[in-house]
Amino acid sequence: MNIGTGRPIESPLFHHQMLECAVQHLLNEGADGPRLFSKLAVDPDAGGLADWCSVAGAVELCGAAGEAGMSAVIGVTLPVLFAAPPRSKEAHEVFPLVLLAKDREGYVLLCELITHVHLSAPDGLPLGRIQEAASRGDHLAYLTAGRAGFPTVLGERKELVGAVSYLRTLRQSFPFGLYVQLFHGSAPNERRRLEYLRGLARDLELPVVAAPEVNMGAQDEYPLLDALTCARLGIDVQTPHAERPRNDASHISTRENWGALLPFPDALLNAEKLATICALDLRPARLHSPEPRLRVFQTAQETLEERAYLALPLCYLPDAREAASTRLRHELATVSTLEMAGFFLTAAEVTDYCREHGILAAGRGSAAGSVLCYLLGITLSDPIKHNLLFERSLHTGRATMPDVDIDIASSRRDQVLSWVEQRWEGEGTGEAMVANKITYRLPSAVQDLGRALGLPPELRDRLSRTLGRDDRHCRPHRARDAEIVFSEVLGDAPVKDALLSLLEKVEPGFVRHLAPHSGGVVLSARPLTYFSPLIRSSGGIRMLTFDKDDVERLGLIKLDLLGLRMLAALERAREEVMRLTGEWVEYGALPDDPAVWERIASGDTFAIFQIESPAQVQKTARLQPKSMTQLAHQIALVRPGPIQSGTVNPYVRRARGEEAVPDLSEPLRTILAPTHGTVLF
């Protein structure tokens, strides 16, 4: 993606540029995700990323670097508007500038700058905006970027005066953080270019840093990188383009190799120094809860306790109140230790809103085991009555997020989401959707790479269609498994092998682009730019550039507001019944009708939520469920876990009385009694 050529920010391809400070490879567009860094463990130093207008790989990089015992460097390449020389046609010229975060504050500055580019200045950042960021302290390092950077480009245009004046301006703004970047891409005249850059730096008394541009893991990925670049540019591999990689030199290499190509001790030393200064770990020690509405002089914990104890007599009859109260006290203590009160109050605020506006909503997931959630009205069923454990959702030994998913009638989810956006707007950045990293599947990879190889659209569509239902979710590197399909459509044409060999090189988990998550919302008391840049999806939804795993690792708490079509249907049905018969159906208080169980047991479950699939129909007919618990067990049977662990058949046989439950030792026997001695959950 190059903003200079007027491409939109939402590029179809999402690229990683990495900076491997082991020998400082500063990269441009990459064919590899940060996953690659685990492979780099042989180099015990550091690895880094400097993507184009994005830090989306940062959390993954920190994780991989942490595992490999390296330090991670997080940076970004930003388009910057430089004032053009007088009497030129355009007022500004856009050149990339590489910014590296020296510390956490630096990372926040990066996030703010990226957000600014995406939300308000898609053509490029005014230089003043970066100078303003620099004035907030010594948090960033600035590199003049590689082949597209202004020293190189202006040098090639023989506009030395321009290059010098830009460098002077930058030196004045960033007196201690500016470096002239030296790189080696095995292009013609590379040595002369290096001499020129070094001369420029010496004249202006600026330090140089060895930072070769790297954008692929291994040399043999060059065809893939080229094809992906072509797909992104919308051209085929026969069309020349300045942005296409010119050779396979920009792969990850060893310190010795780069040292031989860039034999400048000062530059190598500076690179090592930068890698040490800029080492950064984003993963925090504690979770951050969003801030609920509180009364003056009241902490979140106090509000939570007050609300829970007020609801206690309303939800429990006197005889059950004792047990509930003991359990509540225990849960509140856990919440207090983990400082999660704000989170529960926030979830309660959302469900309150739904109730007040007549929107059907119900919490689910492990939160259903909490008396607290029941009392707050987040979940609708009593965990004590159903014998559910609180520890499944939250315990003091757990540092990960509790899982509260709220199902909302799908037709009105937008209303809830826009209210949430307004409610936590604060400084305009307190709320955003989690992103989904859309990775390549066979059909999308065939479309993109096929276009790059010049396959006509009809042929590509036929290929995607023929891949059909079964290979649709296949990862591209398994393309050879579906070779029969490729042969059917493409015959023996040489393009078939070219396409297959390209597909095989696509790493599993290679991210194509970002799209908003279906329901994950992150709420935060402080601006979200503290954690991540904010971008707008093509549908206009504000989102983070991290997916749900990244968000969890960043210590943010995600609330899942999922749309459920069945709830929307129920909501409508209730209205229709009201209109036709004047009767209001209270869904919480429906009678347990034996005719319903009879119908379910006969296998006649068409259009019944969760049990209409053929597999469930078979199970209902065999198991003949008679209660909600039995039905819940049956639904739980058709999941990957029980199927793979071979729990299904023993459960079915024992439930039908065809096999005795084996004798288990005591704690297990009571726990597993309802599931006939099998581990279902």
Binding site: T466, R469, R579, A607, E612, S613, A615
Partner: protein, 277 residues
Amino acid sequence: MRLPNTPTPPPGCASTVGQEAQRWGVSLRGACVNRSGVSYRAENERTVRLPLVVVEGVSETAARQIVQERLVGGKFAGVEDFYDRVEIKRDALDTLAKAGAFDSVDTRKNRREAYYVLNVVANARKPGTRGLLNPQTGAPELPALSPDELLLLDLETKGVSESGRHPLDAHRARLRDIGCLPLGSLRHGQAGWTAGLVVTKQRPPTARGFAFFVLEDGSNRVQAIISPDLWEAHWVLLRDARALIVCGEATVQGRAVTLKVQRLSELPLGSWASAAD
């Protein structure tokens, strides 16, 4: 979390919705520009009116526009009146005519005629504008559509038919001739030939290569289990088939019927896209 094996509720599996409604004693009424709303609506306790959005190409915005115009300016008097008052895309208009949305306003209740009139006015002026000099829209004598053609049009444009007919209805005698039992009369442990419309196709990764097809005939549905060998031998046919003739042994438990397929062949039905594609 979406479980891997639960298919999304079929949005109108060919004729399944219609057949199921019939079994429960609910009659469906077709989409109609003067009666349908944006979403499904119960007209009384035994009748459900199809919404305008089931018609392919009619977006929620377009449906809203139609309903709003109807509320403001009264019922539509005919195809021409509709064309002059509502500004929606031409292909959506065509599909509405084919789907029978004008059946109740049209004088002769013939979809062909509605389509003819629509084309005459559409060639004369833009939609949403009232013309000064109007062309003659009287249609020539057009033959009525046969019930079979109506069914195929319904399935093609709406994915559901209010007629209560099933695509297999036209093939029953032929199927009886070759010894196919209807799905409803399969008995436990009995092997034999039967036929049905393919409603869903699944080949979950956990199933070690087995494929599960749901076949439908009227209000009966059967799960057909296809072994990896059979899949290997017939995968092109299985990928493209809309209806299948299969031979196998049935396991019947209440309404849950599974069929272990031993032999199979395609049943050609004509050209319309089914939801299983």
